[in-house]
Amino acid sequence: MKAFLILEDGTVFAGTSIGSARDMISEIVFNTSMTGYLEVLTDPSYAGQAVVMTYPLIGNYGVTPDMESDKAWPDGYIVKELSRVASNFRCEGELNDFLISQDIPGIAGIDTRALTKLLREKGTMNGMITTNENYCMDEILPQIREYAVGDVVSEAACQDTYVLEGKGPSVALMDFGAKKNIIKSLNQRGCKVTVYPADTTAEQIIRSEPDGIMLSNGPGDPKSCTSIIEEIKKLSETNIPIFAICLGHQLMALAHGAKTYKLKYGHRGGNHPVKDLAGGRVYISSQNHGYAVDYSTMDSTVAEEAFINVNDGTNEGISYVGKNIFTVQFHPEASPGPQDSGYLFDRFLDMMKGAK
């Protein structure tokens, strides 16, 4: 079946429908990872967005148990070529069937490189995937332009608190749309992890007397999470060690008076170099964010810049002065992507130990 991707600037890509055949409108973003399409599809940070994979051959190893959450999150999925066979010893099915079962519409067979270049040059755009060959441009363009990501955190976060047992320190994890591997990375290091819904109050968390607090990744514009920011402010005033990733990092910065802004086309992939300003070491990181913290708006007596992106100099991490708070923009939990910065979880564990 034919399918079309129509961008808000009127560009149309014609291809073949994959996944669900329903129409969808969303914000189109690209991811440059060459492996890990399942981790991408199940990353809650993609809520409210449709994702283009720049690597052209997708689905080669089918559906493996490598899910970062219980469902697929992107509104739509855009690839160059979806493999017709899936080959891997852990393969449980084919990607197209997965998309269908998750009711995710998609399009294949388009020039994903041209699309990526367009998004790079013009910035992230909204778009529509439709299988209706007789679409009326005048009608749909306003609809496409009107689309806004909105409040997706509440959608992506868990609804109920749950616990993963562990013999080590207890960590309260605020779930804004957390990837499983963040939870797993802590749990594997022995932590008892209690996962709280995004709207949990600071009081509730403080009352549980955790050894540390983890603020997770999540989707959407950090500025829109006003009430969460208030709660985080309260959390940061305690002495409980806090580690935050991605959205959590942005929210912490906002809670300390800094500003965030939308990147032209974001960082999504597994090859971004980040520099640890303390030692000068560079790590290759996994990234997925459309917004960034503008460190120049931060009071440097409140927080020091800890990491920067080597490519574009944007902020990648902040260390809060005199506090046990440490936050990063990138994803030390990897999945997908390089595991180079996994040591940061160890650092968090040390922080918790030190605080005792």
Binding site: T32, S33, M34, P56, S87, T116, G270, P273, I284, A334
Partner: protein, 1074 residues
């Protein structure tokens, strides 16, 4: 960390002559590194014995020494040039081994020279089997159960404890020399004995066999601060068991999930960190197909063939970055030269798929076993880029230039299903074609996978191509009945999968031109995408392109300047080697200097010409008319240069003219005139130049007619080939039948030539002609008499035995020929001199194999002169007097180097068909020293045991006596077969008679296998009947590491050289000063 300012003068060691397993990739790496060092203001002293390389140019390094790569030479050079540092990680295993030798002897320390790029400790940890294993154990990286053994008994004991099959890997050898898989005690003993001998340290690793696992490689970079990145990972389509150099390789990996990918990536980073490598490194893994279990196969603590491939596949300049790291820079301080925005501390992301296919030499060695093992056999490789795997595979296949253009090119349709299944078990270079045939027969993926262990994903991709073949074939009835052609969607899909128009035409029955026109009518045209290292995330500035069908075109025609298309020479193969890349690159530079925009088309990932900053634009594409036409459509060049890219480029001349692209320099019809027998004879007649009599034929009957008229022996060869492919000396009708049969195995577009064979001195000349005047840098004389391919002959400059008159005749003939062929640019002529009589045997109005060599030893840059002449300059404007240039003060000897030990069952005897893979140079103030250096550079280091075997054909006996006498004089004990022994004794030379092979033991074979022989001189009789005996002797000798000479003249040169081994202190010549 900024640059270490203590480093001011660096000695870079190259990799020496091209042999299988160590080829052009090191010229690429070395050249890039030298340029990178010079960019930093350092003085570069270069040592490499290979004159065909670009790195040994005076514009690449400040001081250039083309000298033998021995520890003595390096020591002498260090004392002479006083470098403060040595960079050994860019010259392959050869340079690394040399560095180790100097470090271990304490020489470097004594002379306050530091190794940069890597430490001796690192090299040892990575290369020494035992140390490597214990290092891996220490950091918990698994290796296959293995044991280093130093004798056969221990090997057998260990193998039997872990069970067969076992893999054998000798320590410190290149391309896995002497390795293999043993399935039984018998096989083990055979391979082990050989491997122990080939290993520099007499060690072989006996290892658990992991054949059938996925073979995955990672290219890793690390700086002194500990930052590390992976440039690229690669997956071998052929599972473990085939040397990665002989495997079809895809980048990035296709069948690994992120979990497997990251698991191995993390392991690679751990390894490079533990080994403390600063620079580039290659880690090879075997990954169990059904679990997460993996083993580290090998680590190369240096740039390698794989890193050249990774560089070209991603656009990340590994050698350049490695050189900067050696100077102390960290990755985040080095700019990404492709994007010019980002830094070297990132990982390239591909938005395309890269396929590499090895170029195997079985078309040259028709008797050789095609089986692929852990011993590398490929002489070169091709790479292709596309946005789908099928397309990349199809493009790579047609880039091979082995008469293959699709998966139907080898015909297995006559095999029964059982035979086919049986044949599939044999791992050889035709395996993907056999898989395609199996799919056509309806054999399931599972069965194919069961036999080949190739991943289902790849098998399915082959199936996609087979299905397309069938869909196209299904159009044939419609086409035949005139009811139409191919519908747009099908054609579009066929092109997306990179089916060439010619194949579509064959399958559908449409004419090729029709397919072409239909495509244009439907608007199905190739578009070009950029290799930008970052999957379009950042705007890149380097125009490095590949084609796909469908989508947006990124290659833009630039206006405002003249544009020249330079056609490269494709994969390195015997007969067309790195020399032609040297020519292409120099031509590009010369045009660039003259203000042209330069566009290179080539498909060889190992070469300098495909480095992204050589030409203004690089198209990484197959060199076929259709592929070139698509580029021409977009670029609309003002002209194309074909005379520098060997036969590959020359073959495109006609097609280019049809596209309306002017051929710059010598016109196509004149190129033809040199190859067309009748036209050429007419020109020779007009010029009053004699040539050996001969004629053109198509059949064996005609050939026999001509041969009998001329009288045997005659030379038989196809026209339009390079490296004498298919050329043979026939001594009777029977030979003719056999040779013509071999030639006609491949359909010939051109007639076969039969010439009278003259046994005289062979002389070679390269010249530049501006249409009027010529410039001959020098005359080269071959040591071997005519009958041995010029590429396999020892070539001496200046010619030693020619009279002044003969030289004048040669100059005059060259001038006449160049003028009457209207040569604008380069011409290469081969002469035979019998007495004072000069005959022309071959004229090539293009660059030749000897061009780099003669340029370097005369100091006359003839490629750039030729390019300038092509642009319109006259020789005299360029600062040279016309005619033969005065002879240099030096003697130079170019020595062929062979890789016979790598190719099982290849006949090593020399003849009119070229067999050498590379060359080295000896240059000195005296002929004797130059010759000595040349043999030293070629790795012939004698004497060891002072024993030799002499067995010659009857006509060589008189000379053999003389040679025997000289060898005896320097202390050699001579073993000879009855006839030769008798001749020697009659001449008063002491000889020990030994039995021939078919006679009872002890015979020749026992002697050879006894490891007590230095040298075998065996001159086989001419003709097809070379005797199984001689073949066996030569093979066994080569495989046990004994030097074998098959021409009496080579033997004479060797003894001259050995008589001069008293030359203790070599004079080192800085080529840059010539």
């Amino acid at each position: 960390m900024p640059k270490n300012n203590e480093i001011k003068r660096v000695l870079v060691i190259g990799s020496g002559p091209i042999v299988i397993g160590q080829a052009a990739e090191f010229d690429y790496a070395g050249t890039q590194a030298c340029r990178s060092l010079k960019e930093e203001g350092l003085e570069v002293v270069l040592l490499n014995s290979n004159p065909a390389t670009i790195m040994t140019d005076k514009d690449i390094a400040d001081k250039v020494y083309i000298e033998p790569l021995t520890a003595e030479v390096v020591e002498q050079l260090i004392l002479k040039e006083k470098p403060d540092s040595v960079l050994p990680t860019l010259g392959g295993q050869a340079a690394l081994n040399l560095a180790m030798e100097l470090e271990e002897s304490g020489f470097l320390k004594r002379n306050h020279v530091r190794l940069i790029g890597t430490t001796a400790e690192t090299i040892k940890k990575a290369e020494d089997r035992l140390e490597f294993k214990s290092t891996m154990e220490k950091i918990g990286e698994p290796c296959a159960a293995s044991l280093v053994v130093e004798n056969v008994e221990d090997g057998v004991k260990f193998a039997e404890s872990i069970g067969y099959p076992v893999v054998l890997r000798p320590a410190y050898t290149l391309g896995g020399s002497g390795g293999g898989i043993a399935n039984s005690r018998h096989q083990l003993m055979e391979i082990l004995e050989n491997g122990l001998r080939l290993s520099r340290v007499g060690q072989v690793l006996v290892e658990r066999c992991i054949a059938g696992w996925k073979e995955i490689e990672y290219e890793v970079m690390r700086d002194a601060r500990g930052n590390c990145i992976t440039v690229c990972n690669m997956e071998n389509v052929d599972p473990v068991g085939v040397h990665t150099g002989d495997s079809i390789v895809v980048a990035p990996s296709q069948t690994l999930g992120d979990k497997e990918y990251q698991m191995l990536r993390t392991s690679a980073l751990n390894i490079i960190s533990e080994l403390n490598i600063t620079g580039g490194c290659n880690v090879q893994y075997a990954l169990h197909p059904d679990t997460f279990e993996y083993c580290v196969i090998e680590v190369n603590p240096r740039v390698s063939r794989s890193s050249a491939l990774a560089s070209k596949a991603t656009g990340y300049p590994i050698a350049k970055v490695a050189a900067k790291i050696a100077l102390g820079y960290t990755l985040d301080e080095i700019k990404n030269a492709v994007t010019k925005k980002t830094y070297a501390s990132f990982e390239p992301m591909l938005d395309y798929c890269v396929v590499k296919i090895p170029r195997l030499p079985f078309d040259k060695f028709i008797s050789a076993k095609r089986t692929l093992t852990t011993q590398m056999k490929a002489t070169g490789e091709v790479m292709s880029i596309c946005d789908n795997f099928e397309g990349a595979l199809m493009k790579a296949i047609r880039s091979l230039e082995q008469h293959v253009d699709c998966l139907l090119s080898y015909d297995f349709s006559r095999l029964s299903k059982e035979e086919l299944l049986e044949d599939l078990k044999r791992v050889d270079d035709q395996r993907i074609w056999k898989i395609a045939e199996a799919i056509r027969r309806g054999i399931t993926y599972e069965i194919i996978h069961e036999i080949t262990r190739i991943d289902i994903w790849f098998i399915d991709k082959i199936a996609v191509l087979v299905e397309m073949e069938q869909a196209l074939k299904a159009c044939a009835p419609k086409v035949a009945s005139g009811r139409g052609g191919i519908d747009r969607e099908l054609l579009k899909e066929a092109k997306r999968l990179e089916f060439p128009d010619s194949v579509i035409a064959r399958l559908t029955g449409l004419e090729e031109r029709k397919v072409h026109d239909l495509r244009y009518e439907y608007g199905i045209r190739a578009v070009y995408k950029m290799v930008d290292t970052c999957a379009a995330e950042f705007a890149a500035e380097t125009p490095y392109y590949y084609s796909v069908f469908g989508g947006e075109n990124e290659a833009e025609k630039t206006d405002g300047c003249k544009k020249v298309l330079v056609l490269g020479s494709g994969p390195i193969r015997i007969g067309q080697g790195i020399e032609f890349d040297f020519c292409s690159v120099h031509c590009t530079w010369a045009f660039s200097k003259e203000g042209y925009e330069t566009i290179i088309v080539n498909n060889n990932p190992e070469t300098v010409s495909t480095d992204f900053d050589i030409a203004d634009k690089l198209y990484f594409e197959p060199l076929t008319p259709e592929d070139v036409e698509s580029i021409v459509d977009i670029e609309k060049p003002d002209g194309a240069v074909v005379q520098f890219g060997g036969q590959t480029a020359i073959k495109l001349t006609e097609a280019l003219m049809k596209m309306g692209v002017p051929i710059l320099g010598t016109k196509a019809e004149d190129v033809d005139a040199a190859e067309d027998r009748e036209l050429f004879d007419k020109i020779l007649e007009e010029c009053r130049i004699p040539r050996p009599k001969g004629d053109t034929v198509y059949t064996a009957e005609e050939a026999k007619g001509v041969a009998n008229r001329l009288g045997y022996p005659v030379l038989v060869r196809p026209s339009y080939v390079l490296g004498g492919q298919g050329m043979q000396i026939a001594i009777n009708d029977h030979d003719i039948d056999e040779f013509i049969g071999i030639i006609n195995r491949i359909a010939q577009d051109h007639p076969i030539l039969v010439d009278k064979y003259l046994q005289g001195k062979e002389i070679e000349v390269d010249a530049v002609c501006d249409g009027e005047n010529i410039l001959i840098p020098g005359i080269m004389e071959h040591i071997e008499r005519a009958g041995i391919h010029s590429g396999d002959s020892i070539s001496v400059y200046p010619a030693q035995s020619l009279s002044k008159e003969t030289k004048q005749t040669i100059e005059e003939y060259t001038k006449r020929l160049a003028r009457s062929l209207h040569v604008i640019g380069l011409i290469n002529i081969q002469f035979i001199v019998c007495g004072e009589e000069v005959y022309v045997i071959e004229v090539n109005p293009r660059s030749s194999r000897t061009v780099p060599y003669i340029s370097k030893v005369t100091g006359i840059p003839i490629v750039s002169l030729a390019a300038k002449v092509i642009i319109g300059h006259k020789i005299e404007e360029l600062g040279y007097a016309s005619g033969l240039q005065p002879e240099a003060d030096y003697f130079a000897v170019k020595m062929p180097v062979f890789s016979f030990e790598k190719i099982r069952d290849a006949d090593i005897s020399l003849g009119p068909e070229m067999k050498s893979t590379g060359e080295c140079l000896g240059i000195a103030g005296t002929f004797d020293e130059a010759l000595y250096k040349a043999f030293l550079g070629a790795g012939i280091r004698l004497p060891k045991f002072n024993n030799m075997i002499l067995t010659v054909r009857d006509e060589d006996k008189p000379e053999a006596v003389e040679i025997g006498r000289r060898f005896a004089q320097i202390g050699y004990r001579i073993f000879a077969t009855a006839g030769t022994a008798q001749a020697l004794k009659a001449g008063g030379v002491k000889a020990i008679t030994v039995n021939k092979i078919e006679q009872e033991t002890p015979n020749l074979m026992d002697l050879i296998l006894g490891h007590k022989i230095d040298l075998v001189i065996d001159t086989p009789p001419q003709g097809a009947e070379r005797g199984k005996d001689g073949f066996l002797i030569r093979r066994n000798a080569v495989e046990t590491g004994v030097n074998v000479l098959t021409a009496i003249d080579t033997a004479k040169a060797l003894i001259t050289s050995l008589e001069n081994t008293n030359i203790q202190k070599l004079t080192l010549v800085n080529i840059a000063e010539i």
